[in-house]
């Protein structure tokens, strides 16, 4: 593990000054009388190769932020740029295409399909890209090996432990080699030992080049990640990487 840390490729982020993700003056309001404003003028840049925690207590607006980053929800005002591409004017189908291609999701409840094997579950991550089944299976096995589940490819979710299920979900998010992975409370349903393992896995995946955003209410977890963005009452309260984002550097090891 430690050797992996030492070989972290700093150069990758430095070569990519363009943000993978950019939130540009995001405002989100839910209809009501009076309307509920959940996010006020949020600006955020995340560069390729970063591992970022978005942390905040429940009700802070972090879940809404995650949905907006993942294009599952649209902001009331402002724009989300994925790899520099504006999403404000994209149709629902185009957004789906963008998600299929560039965004991976990991959920707190894993959200695996119970009736099918780990490989088939991972393979749904490529289903909406029009890739052949055999190719999907091949890449899914590789992704499972990558998260340390090479020995569980034919197991069904019911036959796996919680940690293993979350690894399957992570493999599903990664199998399409997305620009950015969004993990919503990925350790929320796991015991502390398993949580540690999942955090370690995310650090390793980040070492290997994946850009990961973890949404969590857990400060301790956030502190272990290279950069943490604290959200409070609908705005960004602090950002440990704020002064570094303009150079786009990934400086997790310097923390």
């Amino acid at each position: 593990m430690s050797s992996a840390m030492l070989t972290r490729p700093y150069s990758q982020a430095a070569n990519a000054p363009n943000a993978v993700l950019e939130l540009d003056s995001i405002m989100k309001e839910y209809a009501g009388k009076p309307p509920v404003r959940v996010l006020h003028d949020v600006n955020l840049r995340i560069a390729a190769g970063e591992l970022v925690a978005i942390v905040g207590p429940s009700g802070s607006g972090k879940s809404t932020m995650m949905n907006i980053i993942g294009t599952l929800d649209r902001p009331t005002r402002g724009d989300v740029l994925i790899e520099g591409q504006s999403t404000a004017s994209l149709s629902d189908a185009k957004l789906a295409g963008l998600r299929a291609d560039r965004i991976g999701f990991v959920f707190q409840q894993f959200h695996l399909l119970s009736g099918i094997s780990a490989t088939d579950n991972v393979s749904t991550g490529l289903l909406y890209r029009g890739i052949k089944r055999s190719e999907r299976a091949r890449r899914s096995v590789r992704a499972l090996e990558m998260v340390g589940l090479g020995h569980r490819v034919d197991h069904r979710p019911g036959q796996l432990s919680g940690g293993e299920r979350q690894r399957v979900a992570i493999a599903r998010a990664l199998v399409g080699d997305p620009s950015i992975v969004l993990a919503d409370e990925p350790t929320g349903n796991l015991d502390s030992k398993t949580s540690d393992e999942i955090v370690e896995l995310m650090l390793e995946l980040n070492d290997a080049g994946s850009t990961i955003v973890v949404i969590t209410h857990d400060n301790e977890l956030a502190d272990r990640l290279p950069r943490s963005v604290r959200v409070l009452d609908g705005h960004i309260d602090s950002d440990t990487g704020a002064n570094r984002t303009d150079t786009g550097a990934n400086t997790g090891a310097q923390r």
Partner: protein, 414 residues
């Protein structure tokens, strides 16, 4: 864990390829995804498909049973032909009963489009098996005088022996209809049976097969005109003349029959077409069939509503699955298509089972009724097609509901 760093991460090459992201779902994957919902919920699939199966089975069996029941009637009709006409004396303008001219059948035979004709005349004579039987034990069997042409005209066949010939005209010989033969216990002429008509012993020279269209003839003992007149004072005026017309000229023949038989009062001649009653029978059968088909259709619609119900519930239960699929890049269309495929497949499974069941019921019932088995092939194809369409329609509303789910809402834990 070292595998992580070994993972091929082609980020640099990827950029250029991703200029436009489009969500795509291959057709075969769409079908597989639709089937997944069924194979992971087998119990529900069986119960839901059962409704459709019952509807389709009832429709297929109604069609099969009715067409099997009609097959025999229609085959009989085909064999006997629809070109037979019966001429009988009617009433004159003043309500008096008229008689047909003695030579009516000969006149009819002169019409060019007539293939054959023969007259029948009731004979006032009692018939019994032998002189040890008390008079009157005739079981309603009727003695009639007729001409040798009758057999061909009615397209009749012999169970045993031969029909009357010109030589039998004056002789005490008799041919029995099938009911009459059964009643008197004479099924064969091998032992030279005789029968008592009036005071005279007649030799039974032939026994006829049953004539479905002319049950009257089945109950007759047929003798020649000469012997009938001599022994029983029978007037030669026919009570019925049967004629077989050229199939293409049945109606024209029918129109000139009255004038031909009785030029003085053509309207007092009754003309009927016995095959019409059989056609009517087949027709009545058809109406009943349509009614039963309607009931089957109702069952099918109920089955469809059942599917729609289950699919709506399924959409509610699978909110998270829908949300995840949306997050993984499924468009609204993909979600809707998945549920329509699932519902259509569900119904088609039911339809296939129903078609099999319906065919089995038809075969079983037709066998028990000793009918010719006739399962209409088109009803099988139609059954499956109907199920598929019903299923797709039933899935439409739930599919639209599924597609309209807000993805951010749907991924949230239930």
């Amino acid at each position: 864990m070292t595998t992580v760093t070994g993972y091929d991460h082609p980020k640099a090459t990827r950029r250029s390829k991703r200029s436009s992201s489009r969500s795509r779902l291959r057709f075969i994957d769409l079908i597989a995804t639709g089937l997944l919902g069924l194979t992971t919920r087998v119990g529900r699939t069986v119960l839901t498909a059962g409704g459709i199966a019952i509807g389709i089975a009832s429709m297929v069996s109604v069609m099969g049973i009715s067409s099997s029941s009609r097959a025999d009637v229609l085959a009989e009709l085909d064999r006997l032909g629809t070109n037979l006409l019966a001429v009988q004396p009617g009433n004159s303008l003043f309500g008096d009963e008229v008689t047909l001219p003695d030579n009516a059948s000969a006149r009819i035979r002169r019409i060019p489009a007539t293939q054959n004709a023969a007259s029948l005349t009731a004979v006032q004579a009692d018939i019994v098996r032998s002189d040890v039987m008390p008079p009157g034990r005739n079981g309603g069997m009727q003695v009639s005088a007729t001409e040798p042409q009758l057999l061909d005209t009615l397209a009749g066949t012999m169970t045993s022996g031969r029909f009357l010939t010109d030589l039998d005209r004056e002789l005490p010989t008799v041919v029995l209809g099938s009911d009459a033969a059964d009643f008197f216990g004479i099924r064969s002429v091998e032992n030279r049976p005789t029968i008592l008509i009036g005071e005279e012993r007649f030799a039974v020279v032939g026994v006829m097969d049953s004539l479905v269209l002319y049950p009257d003839v089945d109950r007759m003992a047929l003798i020649g005109y000469g012997v009938a007149e001599k022994l029983f004072d029978t007037k030669p005026a026919p009570s019925t003349v049967y004629l077989r017309a050229d199939p293409e000229f049945v109606e024209p023949v029918r129109e000139i029959l009255g004038r031909t038989v009785d030029p003085e009062s053509p309207n007092s001649v009754n003309i009927t077409r016995p095959s019409e009653s059989l056609s009517a029978k087949a027709e009545v059968n058809k109406n009943l069939t349509n009614m039963l088909l309607g009931l089957g259709a109702v069952a099918l619609v109920v089955g469809g509503v059942g599917i729609a119900n289950v699919m709506v519930i399924s959409v509610l239960e699978r909110r998270n699955e829908i949300g995840v699929r949306r997050a993984l890049g499924a468009t609204r269309r993909h979600i809707a298509a998945q549920f329509v495929v699932e519902s259509a497949t569900l119904a088609t499974i039911g339809g296939a089972v129903g078609v099999g069941l319906g065919a089995a019921v038809t075969v079983f019932y037709a066998k028990s009724q000793e009918w010719t088995i006739d399962v209409p092939i088109e009803s099988l194809g139609l059954g499956i097609a109907a199920a598929l369409i019903i299923g797709a329609l039933a899935g439409l509303y739930p599919a639209i509901r599924a597609a309209r789910l807000d993805p951010a809402e749907a991924v949230r834990p239930a």
